[in-house]
Amino acid sequence: MAKYLMLKHYRGAPAGVNDVPMDQWTQDEISDHIQYMNDFATRLEATGEYVDGQALSPEGTFVRFDGEGRPPLTDGPFAETKDLIAGWMAIDVDTYDRALELAAELSAAPGAGGRPIHEWLELRPFLTEPPTITE
């Protein structure tokens, strides 16, 4: 088994095929989209491949240590960053091909006009513990 992170971007990913802001969809299209996403997660739970999923607020801040006795230095919101993560789903699957298949399925979620969004998702393997037998 191997764990993968499927990353959804607010921005930073190439534009999807059916790239229309959600507030320009009809209410039914929004409902269908949410239903699709929920069904997808439920199905992965049933197959034993779901690990975790979270949505993130688009608002965030860069923070760094600014020296002893000084308050944390913050910068942001992410005005100048190109990349903004919208959320993720972690899966635990048998093969890389299965991970690709699931990511494609998630990217097919319906959007404006009821057509798939074809949104680009970023698929990243987890770095896991080394195996016991190495030679």
């Binding site: 921005r11 802001p21 959600m22 009809t26 929920n38 949505a55």
Partner: protein
């Protein structure tokens, strides 16, 4: 025959059992551990062998666990010393014991998350696993949080009553931040507040209990079958729990006659006015505004001022609501959403749609974000569909590199 353990009964006995151990001289942290282990033992043993005296059983089991733990500790230090036999129980002061536990678990030296966790375990009788699941954190994390909390309050003397407001804040948090898991935290918060109201005569305890019951009464109507939020104005009021409303109103009325108004009573009064109205239009908004005015005096909270602006909009029209809103700090959560609502009522759907879309960006919960996006979509759909707006909130245009 295997029976189900009456979990609510089991948990309601927890604070009393813990109080007895502490009164017998056990320190709080060790006694709490022992009670927790006795609870787990009860879950295992009771289905096959239900005790005749559940509380006596728990006291015996917990005390044995405590002695075992003490013995092994002592044995390490002084193997030859005999551990005392079980001392005779002191005079019965069970109610006081439970009340002290509430104060201890909500002690001001604890962070809110620690106070919530400790209250749920020591007063509520939940297992660490249940508390962890409810707050979506790993069990080991919750175990650490609870044991740190116990260390923090270990030096606190139990003989002085605390400020009841600290206890109420903790119970309010449990009710209001109910997440998921196999325990219904809203129901648990009501149970704990009801238990508190039975042992302490305080109008704000009653006010909080009434507030919880009035909000809990609307729960079934608050979400659609697909999980989306249904705002107050659109709720099917036939689905409100009238028994819970009637009890909440009765508790509130009794509290208000004491003439010691506090913020929970005032909030409950507003909830009662909503519960009393057959529709949004028939709501006594004038009284709602008056109660918000009381709340502003009591708390001076910007959130209260924000909600007041909505009510002012209902009484004097959306322009008046917007004027009231202008005086509220713009960084308050839901400020933009309220502005969107008032601008829509004021007949400016295009501006309202933009504001709803912007509010969706700031929404603290997924369900709320979906709801606000839908509001924007509804207005855009009714206006000129598929016309891109200057502000495209969900997928902002890429910045030039």
């Amino acid at each position: 025959m295997t029976r189900e353990v009456d979990e609510v009964l089991l948990r309601s006995l927890t604070p009393g059992v813990l109080g007895i151990l502490v009164r017998r001289g056990a320190d709080f942290a060790a006694a709490e551990d022992a009670v927790q282990e006795a609870l787990l033992e009860a879950f295992r043993a009771w289905p096959d062998d239900p005790p005749r005296d559940p509380k006596g059983w728990l006291v015996t089991a917990a005390w044995r666990r405590f002695l075992d733990a003490t013995r092994s500790e002592t044995a390490r230090r002084r193997r030859e010393e005999r551990v005392e036999e079980e001392p005779p129980p002191g005079p019965t002061r069970e109610l006081d014991d439970t009340l002290r536990l509430y104060f201890l678990c909500a002690h001001p030296s604890l962070t809110p998350s620690s106070a919530v966790a400790l209250t749920l375990r020591a007063v509520g009788g939940l297992t660490t696993r249940q508390v962890a699941r409810a707050y979506l954190v790993p069990e080991a994390t919750m175990a650490q949080r609870i044991s740190r909390a116990k260390r923090t309050v270990s030096g606190v003397r139990l003989d002085r009553p605390g400020d009841v407001a600290t206890v109420l804040r903790v119970l309010y948090l449990v009710f209001n931040e109910g997440y998921s898991g196999d325990v219904d935290l809203a129901v648990e918060a009501i149970r704990l507040t009801r238990q508190l109201a039975a042992i302490i005569d305080h109008p704000e305890v009653a006010g909080l209990l009434a507030l919880m019951m009035l909000h809990h009464a609307r729960r079934a109507a608050r979400t659609a079958p697909d999980g989306s939020l249904v705002p107050l104005a659109d709720q099917d009021r036939a689905r409100w729990d009238t028994t819970s409303i009637a009890e909440g109103v009765a508790i509130l009325q009794a509290a208000l006659t004491r003439d010691r108004l506090g913020e929970f009573q005032a909030q409950a009064a507003i909830a009662a006015l909503h519960a009393d109205a057959p529709t949004t239009e028939e709501t006594d908004w004038v009284q709602v505004v008056e109660w918000y005015d009381e709340l502003v005096l009591l708390t001076d909270s910007p959130v209260v001022r924000l909600n007041r602006a909505v009510a002012v909009g209902e009484v004097d029209g959306p322009r008046a609501g917007l004027a009231a809103l202008a005086a509220v700090d713009g960084s308050v959560p839901r400020h933009t959403a309220v502005a969107a609502y008032l601008h829509e009522r004021d007949g400016d759907p295009a501006l309202a749609a933009r504001l709803y879309a912007e509010a969706a960006l700031h929404a603290p919960h997924l369900a709320e974000r979906d709801h606000l996006t839908r509001q924007a979509a509804r207005l855009n759909e009714a206006g000129s569909p598929r016309t891109p707006l200057a502000l495209a909130p969900i997928h902002p245009p890429e910045e030039p590199s």
